[in-house]
Amino acid sequence: MQWETVIGLEIHAQLATNSKIFSGASTQFGNEPNRQACPVDLGLPGVLPVLNEGAVAMAVRLGLGIGADIAGRSVFARKNYFYPDLPKGYQISQYEIPVVGTGQLEIALDDGTVKTIGVTRAHLEEDAGKSLHEDFHGMTGIDLNRAGTPLLEIVSEPDMRSPAEAVAYAKKIRTLVRYLGICDGNMQEGSLRVDANISIRPAGSDEYGTRAEIKNVNSFRFLEKALNFEFERQREILEEGGKVDQETRLYDANADETRSMRTKEEANDYRYFPDPDLLPLEVDQAFIERVRAELPELPDEKRDRFIREYGLPAYDANVLTASRELADYYEATVTAAGGAPKVAANWVMSELGGVLNAQGIDITESPVSAEALGGLIQRIQDQTISGKIAKQVFEAMVAGEGNADTVIEAKGLKQITDSGEIERMIDEVVDANPGQVEQYRAGKDKVLGWFVGQVMKASRGKANPEQVNQLLRQKLDS
């Protein structure tokens, strides 16, 4: 049977506020345990939460970024459960009325198609602390530094039909929250955490199958692997006539498998009710407009502009707008090169991209600045060097040997455009290979390419290939 996968994601984005969502304590990562937890974060008796307006503004930014309805009035609720790293015995979250309502997001698939994924809601909540098991024999340590850190939980519709789509969506959310400056998107540090709901059904069916929820996947690669594993697991169960249990599962990256954590029957009753310590959150139109006025150009707008303004293919525009930093780098490169947007796109995506990949670093840590790369492209454009030689120059630039002009000068890589000199080289090559000349004249056009190669070789790549081509034809056809 053909099976169809149905996936929905819940993405927790840690908001990049300076202080916590309900207290004035710092949200900095990596401090000594319990050094940035104030009495509110510790849940001491009598203390009360006070909402951080910055977190609300960030939620609204996200809402505007996905074209969602912003609730004029939303409600904070308590989600009650006992856990040692949950100081109050409840988590303050939004339940029935979240601040961000229905919105949507476009994802570009590998085959070039664009798909719209619905976002059901996004709500504000506080994070819990962390339980520490290392260094405590037979006991557990509690670090409440993270307790009270603002989270925005972004819940999608079950609109994704393959693990690849789910990854594309998750990546798009990360791109968006980074553009918006509301989350650093660092999955290793847990700033962005993904829970995935996955079920399968016979292709063409309208009904949903029983879903499994995979908790806290901490990389896109693991997300794809976990979903692939889960698809296979559910398919096997159903094809053998079994039933999929509704349960929460964990992905074990070492074993590349998901394992049951708890079933629906064991699920908690969270006893949600409106938090009486907090008034309903009122967001008025003026506040929304203030946030809107501060919005940066969003990834889709940027992509469309790149296509329009630079004449880039959609693929290039998508790749180059995947992060705000990359897009900024690209634009700075084009400016420095004085144009040549497609050449610049190719250089940024393949040559520079290859270097960054190999070194495992980010565009912000690029060994070649946008200005330097633009300078190199300028030398290609003005024919000082050929594209091929440019790669050699680029390598030297990556190695820290200076900018394009310095390298070209130092290594004597300047392109030969003096037609006299080129003609001399052509004469030498033609004279030395009478057999090939004969073949050419007998109508074997391909031999021209061989001659070009020989001349280029003789010039150690420095001859202008177009000139070589033209002068060779003249010589051979004469």
Binding site: L42, P45, Y90, P276, D277, L278
Partner: protein, 486 residues
């Protein structure tokens, strides 16, 4: 000196008749000598009080003092005090010292008031008799075999026994007014949001409100002026200027004042003695120029059931933080985390607290939420609407505070429902967030009877003024329990 009111003591301090150190030492000595019989204090902060008194004297000498500088008072042990134990009447917090002051405590310290200590109370403010305290029951100074009311029973008894001229209390369903009535005091439950809840250990957040317990309306006005105010640390605190309640007292006139008498408050369950006192108070107010008007608060009978859903629901959640993990009581040798929770909570909480946690957990649980919690919230709205309509007709509402006078210790401790009905006349006010005051209105069989004045939102000034006028014309509030002045 101990028999003077706060207003009188403030004048004595201002006139230099007495120093704060002398006054404070006098009260501390009385507490030491007499409180063993009464059990109204959990913690006495002798050294700190004397140091504060000394600072108050210096401030006055330097001309920096306010009207209340140097007046000693006591705080209910529900208010957190920096570095001084805050037990909330529970074994759970027997060893707890907060690293901060409740806003009420800070405000009153800023006004120059001196803290004598922390008063006994029903555990986590759950009770109407002060018998649920881990530190033992408080005895009513009017009759030591009887309860002082609750949950602010320690504060009420301390003031009635003249161990402090005033004390703070909190009122979730009547916990200031009912003990005020049973101990012949004036007690005010302010409008919800008027007094900050920050640093007040939460029982039911949407109902809790701190307020003063003292001998006269004038003293309550002075105390409220020091307690109240907007607090950015409490999101439900209301940003509205605090009136000068004490200065406004004489400006309130009873002439033509429409006093609503809700017919639902005069039905069954009220003792004859209480009925007589309430009718007497209504008559007295009429003689003073007020105009009694019969009104109806139709949903009164639903207030106790609605309250006993909402309050335990919030309490079950508020008390989750007492889990033995970070502070407070932890059981010995826990086997694992579940054992740690179960035994810490099982051993740390008393029976009434556990009962309410269970009721509240049930009311919020999936499948019962709509039937209980949501239904109770709807009733709450109906009750608010009743009051709103009533205040279109009248200026204040008069009724009994408690259906009976102080009952014997032990009488109702095995009958939670009988205990809950002690608050039948006070609870609706909390559900509606209104201000209300209880003032002495006479005696029945030698025990004090209080009557309640309910006002519209932020009408504390009017309530205090009416009570003040009434107290100018009566002497119920001047009676002293036998032996107190020996």
């Amino acid at each position: 000196m101990h028999d003077r009111t706060i207003a009188e003591l403030a004048r004595a301090l201002a006139d230099g008749e007495v120093s704060s150190v002398e006054l404070t030492r006098g009260f501390l000595d009385r507490i030491e000598a007499r409180d063993p019989d009464c059990n109204s204090f959990i913690t006495v902060t002798r050294e700190q009080a004397l140091a504060e008194a000394e600072a108050a004297d210096e401030a006055r000498a330097a001309g920096r003092g306010g009207p209340l500088t140097g007046v000693p008072i006591a705080h209910k042990d529900i208010f957190c005090t920096d570095g001084v134990r805050t037990s909330c009447g529970s074994r759970m917090l027997d060893n707890f010292e907060a690293p901060y002051d409740a806003t009420v405590v800070r405000n009153m310290r800023d006004a120059g008031l001196v803290m004598l200590g922390k008063t006994n109370m029903d555990e986590f403010a759950m009770g109407s008799s002060n018998e649920t305290s881990y530190y033992g029951p408080v005895k009513n100074p009017w009759d030591p075999t009887r309860v002082p009311g609750g949950s602010s029973g320690g504060s009420a008894a301390a003031v009635a026994a003249r161990l402090a001229p005033g004390a703070t209390g909190t009122d979730t369903g009547g916990s200031i007014r009912q003990p005020a009535a049973m101990c012949s005091l004036t007690g005010l439950k302010p409008t919800y949001g008027r007094v900050s809840r920050f640093g007040m250990v939460a029982f039911a957040s949407s109902l809790d409100q701190g307020g003063p317990l003292a001998r006269t309306a004038e003293d309550c006005a002075l105390m409220l002026g020091a307690m109240a105010g907007f607090d950015p640390n409490d999101s439900t605190s209301i940003d509205r200027p605090v009136d000068d309640y004490a200065a406004a007292l004489d400006g309130v006139s009873l002439q033509g004042l429409k006093v609503g008498l809700p017919k639902e408050y005069f039905g069954e369950g009220m003792s004859e003695g209480v009925r007589g006192a309430v009718e007497g108070a209504a008559e007295r107010l009429r003689e003073l120029g007020a105009e009694p008007v019969e009104i109806s608060l139709a949903h009164t009978e639903l207030s106790v059931p609605a309250y006993y859903v909402v309050a335990p629901a919030e309490a079950s959640s508020n008390l989750s933080r007492f889990d033995g993990v970070r502070y407070g009581y932890r059981c010995d040798e826990p086997k694992n985390i579940i054992d740690l929770y179960e035994r810490s909570r099982g051993e740390g909480f008393g029976a009434e607290v556990k009962r309410r946690i269970m009721v509240g957990t049930y009311a919020l649980s999936a499948g019962y939420f709509d039937a209980y919690y949501l239904k109770a919230q709807k009733i709450r709205q109906l009750i608010s609407d009743d009051f709103r309509k009533a205040f279109e007709q009248v200026d204040v509402i008069l009724g009994p505070t408690s259906p009976t006078t102080a009952f014997p210790i032990g009488e109702r401790s095995d009958d939670p429902v009988a205990m809950y009905l002690s608050d039948v006349y006070t609870i609706a006010v909390n559900l509606a967030g209104l201000p209300a005051l209880s003032m002495p209105a006479g005696f029945a069989d030698g025990l004090p009877v209080g009557v309640q004045l309910i006002g519209n939102h932020f009408d504390e000034g009017r309530l205090l003024g009416v009570a003040h006028q009434y107290q100018q014309a009566t002497d119920h509030h001047r009676q002293v329990p036998a032996g107190v002045n020996d």
